[in-house]
Amino acid sequence: MSSWHAPGEPATGTRVAADTSPPVLPPVLRATLRTAYLDLHLDLAGGERVALVGPNGAGKTTVLRVLAGLGTALPGTRVVLDGTDVTAAPPPARRVGFVPHTAALFPHLTALGNVTYGLRSRGAGRRSAAAAGWDWLDRLGVAEVADRRAPELSAGQAQRVALARALAPRPRLLLLDEPLGALDAQTRTEVRRLLRVHLAAFDGACLLVTHDPVEAVTLADRIVVLEAGRVVQDGVPDEVTRRPRSRWVARLLGWNAWLGTTTREGLAVHGGHVLVAADPLPAGQPAIATVRPAAVAVHVGHPEGSPRNTWNGVVDEVTASGSRWRVHVAATPPVVAEVTPAAVRELALTEGRPVWVSVKATEVRVTPV
C-alpha cells in the first residue's frame, strides 16, 4: 500500500504512521454553492442520508439541480464527487441518481424498460441489464408490474420504479426531490417504510428534499434546514426537532416560535414582550424561543399561582386535531395552545373570547439563531 504524497516530497514517518490509523474516508459529496441566492456548503459521507428542508423558495431545488448538473452551470458552485471535481461535468459524466418529485417515468417504456435505461445507457448488454432490472424491481416489490407501461402504474408503484431506476446504475449520490409528495397518506406510509430500508442499504450518499417533518426525521440521519439560501441549522433529527433554530421548522413541528433578542431573563420578542426562560442565554444575541402548544395553559381570568409568563388576547381560531384541540390566540405575541376538548367546552373557547395564557419558565426554550 503506497501512501499519497506530493511529488518531490519524501514520504515522512508521520505519513507512514497515518497509514496504520483507521482510514478517514473522504466525503462522497463535497459541494459549495455561493451564488446570488445561495450560500452553503454540504459534505455528505458514504451511507449518510441527509434531509434538506426549508420553506418554498429557500433554494432546495436549485441545490439538487446543481448537484445533478442539470441546467446551465451556476458560477460560484463547486461539486466534488468521490474526490473528483465534477463541477463542469455534464449529468451523464456524474454518478448521480435523481428521483424527481413526480417520479417522471418514461411513459413510452415499461417499468422494466425504465429501470434498465440507465444500465443500457452506461453500456450494459441487453441481457445483463434486463437481469439487473428484474432484480431491482423485485427488491422494491414491483416485479409483477415489470411489463406494464409507466402510465398504467399506480402512484406508489411509479415511485418505487423511479427509485429502482435511480439505484440500478449504482450512483454514488442519490437525490430525492420530495419522494413521497405525490402519494396519498396510506401509500406514503408504505413507500416511506420501503424507502427507509433501501436507503439504509445504499452505500452512497443520499440527499432528500422534503416538506414533511415526519419524512425528514424517519428517513434521514441528518437534517439541514435551508432558509433564503442559507443553512440555519444542520444537525441530527433529534436535535433539530428538540431545539429548532428557525421559525419554519418550529411551525412545521406545530410549536410556538418567536424570534427576538436574548435578555438576562429570557427573550425579548420582536414587538416588545419579554418571555422568561428558566435557562436563559447570555444577553444581547439573536435567538428563537420555542414552546410546545401543550405547555401553554389557557384561562378565562387572570391566572393565579406561579407561572412566570402570562399575557392576554382573544381566541382567533379553534381547530381539532385528534384528542387535543388547538386554540389559536391573537395576542402579543400570538400563541397556540393545545387543550382537551373538555377544556374547550368548559371555558367556552370560541372565536372572539378574551382569554389569558400562561407558560412556565421551564417550558420556554431559547436557542441561538
Binding site: P91, G97, F106, Y117, A166
Partner: protein, 260 residues
C-alpha cells in the same frame, strides 16, 4: 342542447363560411362522372401521375423529416444569435407564393444558379427532374413539419430528458430514446400536414421541375392540364386527391385525440 345559442350576427357568417367551403366539395361530388369513374381512375396516364405524386410527396416527407426534426430541435432547445431570423427564414415558404419559391429554386439550383452551376459541372442536374420535383415539394412542406415539431418540443416536460441525462444518456441518446418518442404525436401531425402539402404542391413544382409526364408531372399538374381537354378525367383525379386528403385528416384527428 347544451351551450348557448349563437347571436345572429355571428351565426350567419359562420353558416356562410361552412357553405362556402362545402359547396365546391359538393360540386365535385355531384358532377363526378361516377359511372365512368373506374375507367378514368385506371387510365395509365392518371396512374403514372398518381404514382409519381406518391413517390415525390413521400420523398419530400422523408427529406422534411430528416432536415426538419433536427432543425426543430435546434430552434426549440438552443439559444444563438439570429435565431428569430433563422426561424422567420425557415417559415417563409408558408407565406411565399409557391411560384416565387420555384423561381428562387431555379436561381439557386438551375443550370446557371448559385449552386446549380458547380453541380452541373460535376454532372448533377436538378431542375426538370424527379429529384427537382421532390426539392420543390420539400421547400413548401418543410415549414409545416418544423412548426409542428418545434411546438411539441416546446410544450414537452423537460424532466424526462433530465432524468435520462442523469442516468448516463448523452444528448444524442436522450434525443433518440426519450425526446423523439415523447414528441412522436407532434411529429406525426407535422408529417401528415407536410405530406399533404407536398402532395398538393403545384406552383413551385411546375416552375422548378416543369411538367414532364412520368418524370415531373404530378397529380395536381395532371388535373390542371386535363381540365383543358378531358374535364371528366380532371374531376376523377380531383376526387382521388380529395379522398387522400380526407384520409390524412382522419389520421390527424386520431393523433390529436391521442395527445389529448
Amino acid at each position: 342542447m347544451t351551450g348557448r345559442r349563437a347571436p345572429l350576427p355571428l351565426l350567419v357568417p359562420a353558416v356562410l363560411a361552412v357553405g362556402f367551403v362545402t359547396l365546391p366539395l359538393a360540386g365535385l361530388l355531384v358532377r363526378a362522372p361516377w359511372t365512368a369513374l373506374p375507367a378514368l381512375l385506371t387510365d395509365p396516364a392518371l396512374l403514372t401521375a398518381l404514382r409519381l405524386s406518391l413517390v415525390c410527396s413521400s420523398g419530400a416527407l422523408a427529406a422534411s423529416l430528416a432536415l426538419g426534426v433536427p432543425l426543430a430541435w435546434v430552434l426549440a432547445r438552443t439559444e444563438f444569435r439570429g435565431k428569430p431570423a433563422v426561424r422567420a427564414l425557415v417559415l417563409l415558404p408558408l407565406v411565399l407564393p409557391p411560384v416565387v419559391g420555384g423561381v428562387a429554386l431555379l436561381l439557386a439550383f438551375g443550370r446557371a444558379g448559385l449552386l446549380g452551376a458547380p453541380l452541373a459541372a460535376v454532372g448533377i442536374t436538378l431542375p426538370f427532374t424527379t429529384a427537382g420535383a421532390v426539392m420543390a415539394e420539400t421547400f413548401v412542406a418543410l415549414p409545416f413539419l418544423v412548426l409542428a415539431v418545434e411546438g411539441a418540443l416546446g410544450t414537452l416536460d423537460r424532466q424526462h430528458e433530465e432524468v435520462a441525462a442523469t442516468l448516463g444518456a448523452g444528448p444524442l441518446r436522450v434525443f433518440a430514446t426519450v425526446t423523439l418518442p415523447l414528441v412522436a404525436p407532434g411529429v406525426a401531425a407535422g408529417a401528415a400536414l407536410a405530406w399533404a402539402r407536398a402532395l398538393g404542391e403545384f406552383g413551385a413544382t411546375v416552375t422548378f421541375a416543369g411538367n414532364l409526364p412520368g418524370r415531373t408531372q404530378t397529380l395536381p399538374l395532371a388535373v390542371y392540364l386535363a381540365l383543358q381537354d378531358n374535364p371528366d378525367a380532371a374531376v376523377a383525379a380531383s376526387l382521388l386527391l380529395l379522398a387522400v386528403c380526407a384520409l390524412v385528416l382522419v389520421a390527424l384527428r386520431r393523433t390529436w385525440a391521442v395527445r389529448r
